[in-house]
C-alpha cells in the first residue's frame, strides 16, 4: 500500500510539473471553448474540458456560465461584464456591444455537467470541507473524462477521507474500462483498502446480471474475490481492535469506580451503596470548575479538566468523610444495616443534586485537545477523550498502588483489611485509618466521575448504574486486591463489549450478570483470594 502511494505521489509530481510548466501561457486554449458555440452536447464537452483543465481561467469561465454571463459572438466565446464584452479565453476587452452577444443557455444535463466541473475545480481548494463536498459530488457521478482530475487530486490530497472517496471514484471509473488489464489493476489497487464501501463496490463485480457476470473476465473476478477477502480481514481486525479498545475504555471507567469501592469495602467490609453518587459529586465538581473557567479564565478553558482533578477528588472525599463520620462509623459490624443506610444516603444525594442543579442532564464540553479521534480504519475511530481516560485510569491506579505499597498509611490500610483486631492491638489507629481510607476511596470515585463527565452526560442519577457494576468488579477481583480489581475491570469491560457486539446491549448485560453469579458459585473469594486462613463468621 505504501509503495503504491509513493508511486502515485511520484506520478502526481510529474503531472504537477507538466501542469506547472503549462501555465506559462497567458490564457485558456481557445479550442477548449469552441464547443460553447455548438449544441448542448458541444457545451457539455467544453464544460468537461474546462473542469479537467482546471486553473483560475477555467474557473472564471465556469463562474460566468453559471451566472448567465457567458455568450457567443461569431463563434467566439465571450463574457459579458456589465457593458463591456471580454474574450472568454484571454480576458481581453472586445469592442462589440453587449446587446449583440448571444448568451449560452443551459438545460438540466448541462447544469449537472457544470456542477461536476465546478466540483473538479473545487478539489484543489484550500478548504477541507469544500474539497470533501466536491469529492462526494464527483464520487456520486463518476465520469470517464474526469479521470485525470481524480489522479491529479489524489496526488495532492493528504486528507484520508477525501483520498478514500476519490480513490474509490477513480477505481469505479477504471472498473468500467473496456480494457481487462486496467480493470485488473484497479481491483488490485482497491484490495489494499479497508473500507466497507470498497468491499460493496467489489462485490458488485461478482454478481450476475441477466445471466452474465457483471465483470466478464474470470481473472479479474478472481482478483476481486481475493481483494474482498483482504478487505474483510482488515475490517475484522480493525473492528476487533475497536471492540477491545471500547472494552478497555469501559474497563477503565469501571476500574475508577471500583478502586475506591475496593478500598472502602476491603477496609470496613461495608458496601457503600452511595458510591455511585460520589461519582456524581465528582462530575458536578468538574462541571462547576468548567463554569468558573468559562467566566473568569476563558483563555485557559482547555485546561479546566486538569484544574478539576484536585477539586473533584477533594469534594468527593469531603462528602465521603462526612458519610463515614456521621453514619457508617456507627454501623460497624452491621454490614446489612450499612447497606440500607448508605442507600438512604444515595437517595438524599441524588435528590439534593436534583434540587440544586435541576433534573436535566448537563453536557460538558471536551477540551479541544480531547475532542476528535484517531481513525484506525474506515468506521473505526478511537476517540481521544477515551484514550485520555484510559491513561488517566492508569495514572490513578499507579498513585493508589504507590500509596498502598509505599506509604505508612497504605500499610495501615492493608493491615486493617487483613485483620482489624490484630492491627488495633499492635497500635494501628484503626478509626483514623478508616476515615482516611474512606476519604481516599471516595476521592478516587470523584476522579471516576470526572472521567465519566468527559464521555457521558452528567445528571443526578448518573451514578446509580455503576454501584452494582463496581461491586461486581470488587467481587470478581477479590476483596482488598488491587491487582484483582484491575484484571476484573478490564476483563469485564472487554467481555461485555464483545458480548454487546454479538448479542446486543441488554442481553450482554444480563449475560454478564449471570456469568458473575455463576462465577461466585465457583470462587466466592474472587479471582485473587487473600492468602491465609480465615474463619468466616
Amino acid at each position: 500500500m505504501f509503495r503504491s502511494i509513493v508511486m502515485k505521489r511520484m506520478f502526481g509530481v510529474a503531472l504537477l510539473l507538466t501542469l506547472l510548466a503549462a501555465p506559462a501561457r497567458a490564457a485558456l486554449d481557445p479550442s477548449l471553448l469552441a464547443g460553447f458555440a455548438g449544441d448542448f452536447q458541444g457545451r457539455m464537452a467544453a464544460i468537461e474540458a474546462l473542469g479537467v483543465a482546471g486553473g483560475d481561467d477555467a474557473r472564471r469561465v465556469l463562474d460566468a456560465l453559471e451566472a448567465g454571463r457567458l455568450g457567443v459572438i461569431g463563434g467566439r466565446a465571450v463574457i459579458v461584464d456589465g457593458d463591456t464584452v471580454r474574450d472568454a479565453a484571454s480576458g481581453e476587452a472586445l469592442d462589440q456591444g453587449a446587446g449583440d452577444v448571444e448568451l449560452v443557455t443551459l438545460n438540466n444535463r448541462v447544469r449537472r455537467t457544470l456542477a461536476n466541473a465546478r466540483a473538479a475545480l473545487a478539489l484543489t481548494s484550500a478548504d477541507r470541507a469544500e474539497r470533501l463536498g466536491a469529492a462526494i459530488t464527483l464520487g456520486d457521478n463518476p465520469n470517464e473524462t474526469l479521470l485525470p482530475v481524480f489522479d491529479r487530486a489524489l496526488a495532492a490530497e493528504t486528507d484520508e477521507e477525501i483520498r478514500g472517496i476519490l480513490a474509490r471514484a477513480a477505481a469505479r471509473i477504471k472498473l468500467a474500462s473496456p480494457d481487462a488489464l486496467t480493470r485488473l489493476r484497479a481491483v488490485r489497487a482497491l484490495g489494499e483498502s479497508s473500507d466497507p464501501a470498497v468491499k460493496n463496490l467489489l462485490e458488485g463485480l461478482l454478481q450476475k446480471r441477466d445471466g452474465n457476470w457483471v465483470e466478464a473476465h474470470p481473472e479479474v473476478r478472481t482478483a476481486a474475490k481475493l481483494a474482498i477477502d483482504d478487505i474483510e480481514g482488515r475490517i475484522a481486525i480493525a473492528e476487533g481492535v475497536g471492540t477491545v479498545f471500547s472494552g478497555l475504555s469501559l474497563g477503565s471507567i469501571l476500574l475508577l469506580a471500583a478502586l475506591g469501592l475496593a478500598i472502602t469495602y476491603g477496609v470496613m467490609g461495608v458496601i457503600n451503596m452511595a458510591h455511585g453518587e460520589l461519582l456524581m459529586v465528582g462530575a458536578y465538581a468538574t462541571f462547576l470548575v468548567q463554569g468558573l473557567f468559562r467566566s473568569y479564565l476563558p483563555a485557559y478553558l482547555d485546561w479546566y479538566v486538569a484544574a478539576a482533578i484536585p477539586v473533584a477528588f477533594l469534594s468527593a472525599a469531603l462528602v465521603g468523610v462526612a458519610m463515614e463520620r456521621l453514619v457508617l462509623r456507627h454501623l460497624y459490624g452491621r454490614p446489612l444495616e450499612s447497606l440500607l443506610a448508605t442507600w438512604g444516603l444515595s437517595l438524599v444525594l441524588i435528590q439534593a443534586a436534583r434540587v440544586i442543579f435541576g433534573p436535566q442532564n448537563l453536557e460538558l464540553a471536551n477540551p479541544s485537545w480531547m475532542s476528535g479521534g484517531a481513525e484506525l480504519a474506515a468506521g473505526v475511530v478511537l476517540p481521544y477523550n477515551r484514550i485520555v481516560i484510559i491513561g488517566f485510569a492508569v495514572f490513578v491506579l499507579v498513585l493508589i498502588w504507590l500509596m498502598m505499597q509505599k506509604t505508612r498509611l497504605g500499610m495501615f490500610v492493608r493491615a486493617v483489611t487483613q485483620n482489624r483486631p490484630m492491627a488495633g492491638c499492635v497500635g494501628v489507629p484503626t478509626a483514623r485509618v478508616d476515615t482516611l481510607a474512606f476519604a481516599i476511596g471516595s476521592g478516587v470515585a470523584g476522579l471516576g466521575g470526572l472521567a465519566l463527565s468527559q464521555i457521558a452526560n452528567v445528571g443526578p442519577a448518573m451514578g446509580t448504574g455503576y454501584i452494582v457494576d463496581a461491586f461486581m468488579v470488587v467481587v470478581l477481583g477479590g476483596v482488598g486486591q488491587l491487582a484483582g480489581a484491575v484484571w476484573a475491570a478490564l476483563g469485564l469491560g472487554i467481555f461485555a463489549k464483545f458480548l454487546e457486539g454479538w448479542a446486543g446491549a441488554v442481553i450482554a448485560k444480563i449475560l454478564v450478570l449471570v456469568f458473575i453469579i455463576v462465577f461466585i458459585q465457583k470462587r466466592p473469594q474472587g479471582i485473587f483470594a487473600l492468602k491465609g486462613r480465615f474463619s468466616d463468621s
Binding site: R334, S338, G344, L345, L347, P524
Partner: protein, 400 residues
C-alpha cells in the same frame, strides 16, 4: 402423640394475637366492604374507590413485608430482589388478565394489543394456557417459587451470604428488569400490561370486584401472619434463628442450613408472588419498573421501620411508610426522596429494632421504673431477655 397440625397452628398465635386478628378481620372483611358498597357517597363514612384501592395496595405491600421479614428478620438473609418475585406473580396473573380482555382491546384482535403492535401472529409458547384462571393461579405460585428455588439452591449451596447475597439478588432483579423491558421478551416491554377489563367475566372496575380483591388481600395477610407465627415459633423457626445468629455453629451441631434457608426463601418468594397477583388487578398495571432495585430495597425499609424479627412490625412498617408515601407524593413530591433517605439512615442508626422495638423498650422502661419504685432495689436490665437474642450483637461477636 403429636398435637394435630391445626391445633398447633392455632396455638402458635397467642390469644391477644387472635384478638387483634379478629378486630382486623372485622375491619377489613366487614366494615370496609360495607362502607364502600352500602353507604351512599354523601355519608362521611363512605370509602371512595380510590381509598379502597389504596388500602388494598397497602395490604399487598404488608404481605410482601411479612415475606421479607421471614427471610431477613428470622433467617438474617437480606434480599434486595423481592421486587422480582412480587413482579413475577403480578406478571403471571397479568397474563390471565390480558387474555380476559378478549377482543375489547383497541385493535379488536384475539391477541393482546402489544402483540398486534409488534405484528406477532400467534401467542408465544409460554402464553399457552394463560386464558385459564387455574393455570394462572398455578403460575402465580410456581413461577416465583421455581425461580427462587433454583437461585437459592445455587446461592445457599455455595454459602453465599451477607452483603454478597444482597448484591447478587439486586443484580438478579436488575437483570430481570432489563429483560422485561425488551419488547421481544413478550411481556409488553416498557408499558407492561394494563387496560384490564375483567376477571372470570366480571367487570374489574365494579365496586363488588374491588371489594372482593380487597377482602382477598386482607385474608391473604391474615393467613400469612398465622402461618408465619406458626413457622417462627416452631422448632423450624428456632433453627432458622440459630442459623441467623451463628450459622457455623448450627452446622457443627449437625443441621444442614441449606434446607432451612432454601425452604424459607422459597416460601417468602411465593408469598411475594401471591401479593403481586392481588396487587396487579387493584392498581390496574404491571410494568418492569416494579423490578427496579429501588423498589426492592424499599421493602427492606418497611421491615426495618416496623421492626425486624417481629411479624407485626413488618405489617406496621409497610403501613406507616406507604401511608407516608401517599401523603408525600400528593402534597410535596420533591421531598419524598429526602424523607425516605433520612428514614433509611435514622432507622438504622437510632431504631435498630424499629417501631415495635421502641414500643417494647418504652414499656420495659416503665415496668423497670415501677419495679424499682416498689422494691427500691437494683434490678438486672431485662431488656436483652425480653427482646430475644439481638441478632446484631451476636453477629458482631462472631465477626470480631
Amino acid at each position: 402423640m403429636r398435637t394435630p397440625f391445626t391445633i398447633r397452628l392455632i396455638q402458635s398465635t397467642p390469644k391477644s394475637g387472635w384478638l387483634a386478628i379478629a378486630i382486623f378481620a372485622t375491619l377489613t372483611l366487614v366494615c370496609v366492604p360495607l362502607a364502600h358498597l352500602a353507604l351512599p357517597e354523601s355519608n362521611p363514612l363512605h370509602l371512595s374507590a380510590y381509598t379502597v384501592s389504596l388500602l388494598g395496595k397497602i395490604l399487598c405491600y404488608m404481605v410482601v413485608a411479612v415475606a421479607m421479614d421471614l427471610i431477613w428478620g428470622y433467617a438474617g438473609i437480606l434480599s434486595l430482589g423481592h421486587g422480582l418475585f412480587f413482579a413475577l406473580g403480578g406478571y403471571a396473573f397479568g397474563m390471565y388478565l390480558m387474555r380476559q380482555i378478549g377482543r375489547d382491546g383497541s385493535y379488536g384482535a384475539d391477541l393482546p394489543d402489544f402483540m398486534v403492535f409488534l405484528d406477532w401472529k400467534a401467542l408465544p409458547w409460554y402464553w399457552a394456557g394463560s386464558d385459564s384462571l387455574l393455570w394462572a393461579l398455578f403460575l402465580v405460585v410456581a413461577l416465583p417459587g421455581i425461580v427462587a428455588f433454583v437461585f437459592g439452591w445455587f446461592a445457599f449451596r455455595s454459602r453465599i451470604k451477607g452483603v454478597y447475597f444482597s448484591i447478587i439478588t439486586q443484580a438478579l432483579t436488575y437483570a430481570a428488569m432489563l429483560l422485561f423491558f425488551r419488547n421481544e421478551t413478550g411481556f409488553g416491554g416498557n408499558n407492561g400490561f394494563t387496560d384490564f377489563k375483567r376477571i372470570v367475566g366480571h367487570d374489574i372496575t365494579s365496586p363488588e370486584m374491588r371489594v372482593t380483591l380487597f377482602a382477598l388481600s386482607a385474608a391473604l395477610l391474615i393467613a400469612c401472619l398465622v402461618l408465619g407465627r406458626y413457622l417462627v415459633s416452631s422448632r423450624f423457626g428456632r433453627v432458622l434463628a440459630a442459623i441467623r445468629d451463628a450459622e457455623s455453629r448450627v452446622m457443627f451441631i449437625g443441621y444442614n442450613p441449606l434446607h432451612y434457608k432454601l425452604f424459607i426463601w422459597t416460601l417468602s418468594a411465593v408469598l411475594c408472588g401471591l401479593a403481586g397477583a392481588l396487587y396487579v388487578p387493584q392498581v390496574g398495571i404491571i410494568n418492569p419498573s416494579e423490578m427496579s432495585p429501588a423498589n426492592s430495597i424499599e421493602i427492606a425499609v418497611w421491615v426495618a421501620v416496623g421492626g425486624r424479627g417481629t411479624l407485626v412490625g413488618a405489617v406496621l412498617g409497610a403501613g406507616i411508610v406507604n401511608l407516608a408515601k401517599s401523603f408525600f407524593t400528593v402534597t410535596v413530591p420533591e421531598y419524598w426522596p429526602f424523607f425516605l433517605g433520612f428514614l433509611f439512615i435514622a432507622v438504622t442508626l437510632y431504631l435498630p429494632d424499629g417501631v415495635v422495638g421502641l414500643w417494647r423498650s418504652l414499656r420495659e422502661r416503665r415496668a423497670t421504673a415501677a419495679a424499682s419504685d416498689a422494691a427500691a432495689a437494683p434490678v438486672p436490665a431485662p431488656r436483652a431477655a425480653a427482646s430475644g437474642p439481638d441478632p446484631v450483637a451476636v453477629s458482631k461477636g462472631a465477626t470480631a
